[in-house]
Structure formats: structure tokens, C-alpha cells
Subunit: 197 residues, 2 copies
Amino acid sequence: MKEALFVLIDEYADWEPALLAAGLRRGFGLWEPRYSVRTVAPGSSPVISIGGFRTMPDYTCDNAPDDFAALILIGGTDWFGSGAAAVLPLVRRAIAIDAVLGAICDASVFLGAHGFLNAVNHTSNGLGYLQEKAGAAYTGETIYRHDAPSVRDKKIVTANGAGFIDFAMDVLDALEAAPREKLDMFSTMYKQGLYPA
Amino acid sequence: MKEALFVLIDEYADWEPALLAAGLRRGFGLWEPRYSVRTVAPGSSPVISIGGFRTMPDYTCDNAPDDFAALILIGGTDWFGSGAAAVLPLVRRAIAIDAVLGAICDASVFLGAHGFLNAVNHTSNGLGYLQEKAGAAYTGETIYRHDAPSVRDKKIVTANGAGFIDFAMDVLDALEAAPREKLDMFSTMYKQGLYPA
């Protein structure tokens, strides 16, 4: 199975990777899983989530594999800190090998701040916020989508931090993890809050 | 700050604790947090989620504190295995000290299988499934709610595994973690998938 790498930084947003990782690794009983999930952090110590969970990373940014199916950057409160720079080589590698690249919440702002969102349709946690945080390296305002929880442009998926269900669906779709009708079932189920009886 | 204990067993469902833990510990910028979050597992080894994340528990069932504000049982694929029995003393303790007791997905079935759902309005992953798995100890079918993602009856909250947003709101409400209008804002935001611009 090819690996999907989830990049976690301190105070990462628990809900943002949750459905996507579970769908990739287990398929919710709706589809056969085709990917394994591995976590990556700047360092090897446990990463503490916003909710206070302590997650042991499988890799550091320095020893993550060169080949992977997807690189998923999870929002957190430290994407503008010094640790985040260690993630840049992985982002460049994802683009070089044509892997799926997903970024949600402040992680999408990190992509903007490093010039990765100027030629792809995208969204984030609001255009004003993205412009303020990303600064001059971001010039993608005409292709920013205001009305979508998540936006997919070929292999790049970006999302609002509250748009984690649509983000999961878009990344699963980009990875061809399941037929589209199964992804629709997944999305409907979790948005309505009920498993079919 | 009083502690909210989240009980995790192997292959726990990543999405089920995610918004609740984050809301308790950080408040989404909507309210001042009043609780700390601690994880509890039958053993001290990392617990692996359905999504493949490895979480280091803060306590084991044997050394968890006697005083806590809430005990939250998270769904997973091992609630009918031998490890789950270690959780029973914590459930009895929660009821004895009148703590909030939350159980979602197969963890609500675990409560049913040990006779805790026969006198409280409740829900689970479908009545037929609950009856099949819980067996003779469960006699609460007349007070089972079929149409609700989550059901709160005073201090006990039960939920369908897909109903994690409503479950979070009901537990936050039972803990008086935030004013009701802030909880409504939280719920609307995550169901619509967009942060306010």
C-alpha cells in the first residue's frame, strides 16, 4: 500500500485529519482501503493537539520517505513558527513526484505564504486572513474561492478549517480511494450525523 | 481546571473525540476554556486509532484520578473485547460522583451491554445493532431514540458514531462549558463547513 503522510505540528486541529485518515486506512465499511497512514512531525517528540491528545509521529520531516501518495498538512497554531520551515522540502517533493497535496486551515495559509497558491484554484480561512498572514508571496486573490469549504484543483486540495468533511472527500477523490457514489455516501452520513439503520 | 477523561481503546474512531476535546481545551475562539483534557486507556502503550494515529495515554484505567468532571467513552472496534472490562470501574465512579458520562458509537453499546441504558433516554448505532450486541442486559428499547444523532438525558449523553458534532455540543452543554448561543455558533460553523469571514 502506498503511504499518505499527515504532517502534524504543535497544537494541531484534531478534527481536521480525523475522517480523512480513517477513510484512507479503513474505508468506513464502504470501500476497501488502499492506503496506509503515517504521521510526520518536525521533531520526534509527541505532538500535542488542540484537544490535548499526544500523538507519536511515525517520521520526522528529515526521515520521511521520498515516495508517497499524498502529503496532507493539518492546521495548527504553529504554521508561522520556526518549526514549520522544516516542512518545505516535503511540500516541494510532493509537487515534484505529482503526489496529492492537501492543506487545511492555517496549513493552507502556509502554502500561500510560500507561493504555492498563485496558480491553482484554492480556498483558506478567509481571503483577508490569508493575505494578512501570507504577505507579498501570495498573489492568488483572483482565484480564491469564498463560498466552498474545500477546493480541489487537480492534485492540490485546500480547505477552510471547518470544512474538514469536504476536505476529506476531495482528498479521497483525488487519490481515487473509492468510487464517487461511495464518497457521496460517506459525506452525507457524517453531515447528517446518522449511520444508515 | 477540572479534568475531562477521554477513554480510548484500540482502533478508536479519530473523529468522535476530536471537536469535543478541542472545544473543552481551547473553545474555538468562541469561549474561555474551563476544562483540561486527559486520555485514558486500558494499558500504557500508545493506542492506535482507526486512522492510524498513535496516541500516548495520560492515564491507565488503574491510575486515573477519582475526581473528574466528565468521562467520555470513544467508539472503537474493541468494546466487546477483554480490554474493555477494565473501563467498568470508571463508569461506576462517574455515576457515583455525578460526573457527565458520554458514550458514542460502540461505546454506547458497551453501556447498554452493562445495563446502564435501561432508565435513561438514549441512542446508539441503531436499535437492532444495540440489541444484538448488548444482549439480555439491555431492556431500554422503549426509550431508544431513532431520529437523533445524539441524545442527552441529564448527565448521560449517547450518540450515533456519525453524530459526533451533536455529541460534542450535548457534552459541552451538560458541562456548562459555554453559553448556549456560543454552542449553537460552534455547531452551525462545523456543519456548514465555513468559519465566519
